[in-house]
């Protein structure tokens, strides 16, 4: 696209233009104007052909720079675009972070374009808490495109200011000190702007593509704006300021004019004084969409979805890596379990075998023990033979009892005199004891001797026969001599 530049300097263009002041580029409805402030005056250029895209804007600016031969490196861009928006957001008394979240949601809800939005806000009134906020927003993609395209030609943007904000402030200044609820209507470059003020602060801005000479249409829009302010914003406008209108007041006057509405009229405005006002005032710093972008990154309490997605994806990658590592550890554990399981089955076999062996050994011990309880020597059998040789001639054995005990054999021998009538020497038993003690059979623990008593007749019922038998009875027979030996043999 070829641009025909028409330089219309307000002063000598070759004059001393200050490089310290930041130039202002205004892009409105395809028209591109540049104002370069200087100490001795201001230079103002306007492109002859419209620029309808950011790309053509960049080319126009580059042509202006080439024509002027100025090393313009910084600029403020005043922008009007179909996707720029202005909102009045009712906000409750809340911390700034909460308000940011509320405004972000409202912008997301109100915007009529796809993609992310960049926004800036300020309180509509002096009160900071609980007052409605004026919010400007634009597509983040458009902002980035402007910055990158102008940056490609070596121009660094200091600020991107919505044109509606400029209009609001310029209209307020031209309309005088505003203390009441005022509606300012101004015409500029084929558009008519309607700016509503609430106690001196901008509350609503409308921009209509209509010729300033279309009186009926302008009057209709003024009435619609007044009605909207009354019904939706709760503002009763008491002053109407008409700037540069072609007999607009006539379309408002009449029976439908709101009661108590004061109409003031002013002269038409050009672009140039507005740009001068921008370079003179600090509006660019207050509602700067570029600054909003920086503030958005550093101060927004909630991370942008993009960063959340990046963080989530990173966390997912880390989690997958961690999961893989844990699965590998788990696989190692499972192989260890498999090996230990094999050892466990081997040990189970060992335990089973050992238990069986223990039971077998216990059964063997039972048999051994019961066998050993009655396993004894043959000593007592031979003892009887020995006794036959040791006992004196007049003595004989009459009873032998041999019973097994835990510590050997218990032996009890009973004997008597061979001849009951023969006399037994008194030391017979002593000699037997002595003989046994001198032999290997010294086993006697107790020995006794005496006479067995004969039975006596003791009738239970006294009768003649029993009395006669008792009378005949002689002295009792002392009985035969007897002895007994007891002892324990191994």
């Amino acid at each position: 696209m070829t641009l025909k530049l028409r330089a219309t300097p307000s002063h000598d263009p070759s004059g001393d233009v200050s490089r310290d002041r930041i130039p202002v580029i205004c892009w409105l409805n395809g028209a591109v104007e540049v104002l370069i402030p200087g100490e001795g005056g201001r230079a103002h250029w306007k492109s002859a052909e419209p620029a309808n895209s950011p790309d053509s804007l960049a080319r126009a600016v580059r042509c202006i720079r080439v024509e002027l031969g100025l090393p313009m490196t910084k600029a403020i861009l005043v922008l009007s675009h179909g996707n720029l928006g202005l909102l009045q957001v009712e906000t409750p008394p809340a911390p700034e972070r909460t308000l940011q979240v509320l405004i972000a949601r409202e912008v997301e809800r109100q915007k009529n374009f796809s993609g992310e939005a960049t926004w800036v806000s300020r309180p509509r009134s002096e009160e900071q808490d609980g007052s409605p906020r004026t919010v400007h927003f634009c597509p983040t993609e458009l902002k980035g495109e402007l910055v990158s395209l102008l940056g490609a030609i070596g121009l660094s943007l200091c600020a991107i200011v919505p044109f509606s904000e400029v209009l609001v402030n310029v209209a307020s200044e031209i309309g005088g000190a505003v203390r009441a609820n005022q509606l300012v209507v101004a015409s500029l470059e084929g558009v008519v702007t309607l700016t509503l003020h609430d106690q001196g602060r901008p509350a609503l801005h409308r921009q209509i593509q209509v010729s300033s000479s279309d009186r009926e249409r302008v009057g209709q829009e003024i009435r619609r704006t007044l009605l909207f302010a009354s019904q939706h914003l709760g503002l009763d406008v008491n002053e109407l300021c008409l700037l540069g209108g072609g007999r607009w007041a006539e379309s408002v006057e009449g029976p439908r004019k709101p009661e108590g509405l004061v109409i003031r009229e002013g002269s038409s405005l050009g672009m140039k004084p507005w740009l001068e006002w921008i370079s003179r005032n600090g509006v660019a710093q207050e509602m700067n969409l570029l600054a909003a972008n920086r503030a958005e990154v550093g101060e927004r309490p909630v991370l942008s979805p993009r960063w959340i997605r990046i963080g989530g994806a990173s966390a997912l990658v880390v989690a997958l890596a961690l999961a893989i590592a844990l699965e590998r550890l788990g696989a190692v554990e499972r192989s260890t379990q498999k090996r230990l399981g094999q050892e466990q089955s081997v040990w189970a076999g060992h335990i089973e075998g050992a238990r069986k062996a223990a039971i077998r050994e216990e059964q063997r011990n039972v048999v051994r023990q019961k066998w050993a309880e009655n396993q004894r020597s043959t000593c007592p059998v031979r003892l009887i033979l020995v006794l036959g040789e040791i006992l004196p001639e007049p003595v004989v054995l009459t009873n032998v009892q041999i019973s097994g005990e835990s510590n050997g054999w218990r032996v009890r021998l009973t004997g008597t005199a061979r001849d009951r009538t023969a006399s037994i020497p008194g030391d017979t038993l002593s000699r037997v004891n002595l003989a046994l003690s001198e032999s290997p059979w010294g086993w006697i623990t107790r020995a006794g001797e005496g006479h067995a008593q004969a039975a006596q007749v003791r009738p239970q019922v006294e009768s003649n026969w029993s009395r006669r038998l008792q009378e005949r009875a002689t002295a009792p027979d002392p009985g035969p001599w007897r002895f007994q030996l007891e002892g324990v043999l191994p």
Binding site: I351, N374, R376, V381, I384, Q401
Partner: protein
């Protein structure tokens, strides 16, 4: 593969519910699942290791018990059992031999069997049968009263030495002098019966 639709539906539901936070939720889910599986594996390994240690300890204890028993009486059991009467037929043969021995020695013997006691070891059933044996010396002529004691001693010695599967518990003899003609013996027969 059959679980893929379910997983896709679950993922979509998670995305719809969690919004942009779904990767974080999924990451947390993945990590928690893997960590849970790993912790479970570690616990299982610990449990198996602990049971192995206990098994080793139990086997050691049992082997010490068995080893101690063998130290006390090495192969004494086999020697003992080898002398037992083998089976029911062996027990009958043993009794017949005993009665024959007594008859040859001049004794009339009457056995009375008591209640047997069973034990099990080395895959065989071992029975201990109490036998009460009444013995009366058969007279050898009118004045043959002498010599009964010697014959009885010979019988007892023969039982103790020639019948290793018979144990004498009690002996009671009565009579007079060398004519202890009556004898009561309490014996134990040991029999080994193999289990089928």
């Amino acid at each position: 593969m059959s679980q893929l639709p379910f997983l896709a539906a679950a993922l979509n539901a998670m995305r719809a519910r969690m919004g942009v936070l779904w990767p974080l939720a999924l990451a947390l889910l993945v990590v928690m699942t893997s960590a849970g599986r790993w912790v479970e594996s570690v616990r299982t390994t610990e449990r198996i290791t602990r049971s192995l240690i206990e098994a080793e300890r139990e086997v050691g204890s049992l082997e010490r018990t068995i080893g101690g028993g063998e130290d006390r009486a090495p192969d004494r059991f086999e020697q003992t059992v080898a002398g037992f009467a083998a089976g029911e037929e062996g027990a009958k043969a043993l009794l017949n031999d005993l009665l024959k021995l007594g008859a040859n020695a001049g004794w009339i013997m009457t056995p009375v069997f008591g209640r047997e006691e069973s034990m099990t070891a080395d895959g065989m059933r071992i029975e201990r049968i109490p036998v009460e044996l009444e013995c009366v010396s058969r007279p050898r002529g009118a004045d043959d009263t002498d010599g009964a004691t010697e014959r009885w001693i010979g019988l007892s010695e023969a039982i103790l030495e020639g019948f290793p599967s018979i144990q004498i518990q009690r002996l009671v003899m009565s009579g007079e002098g060398r004519g202890l003609r009556k004898c009561h013996m309490s014996l134990l027969f040991w029999v080994r019966l193999w289990e089928p």
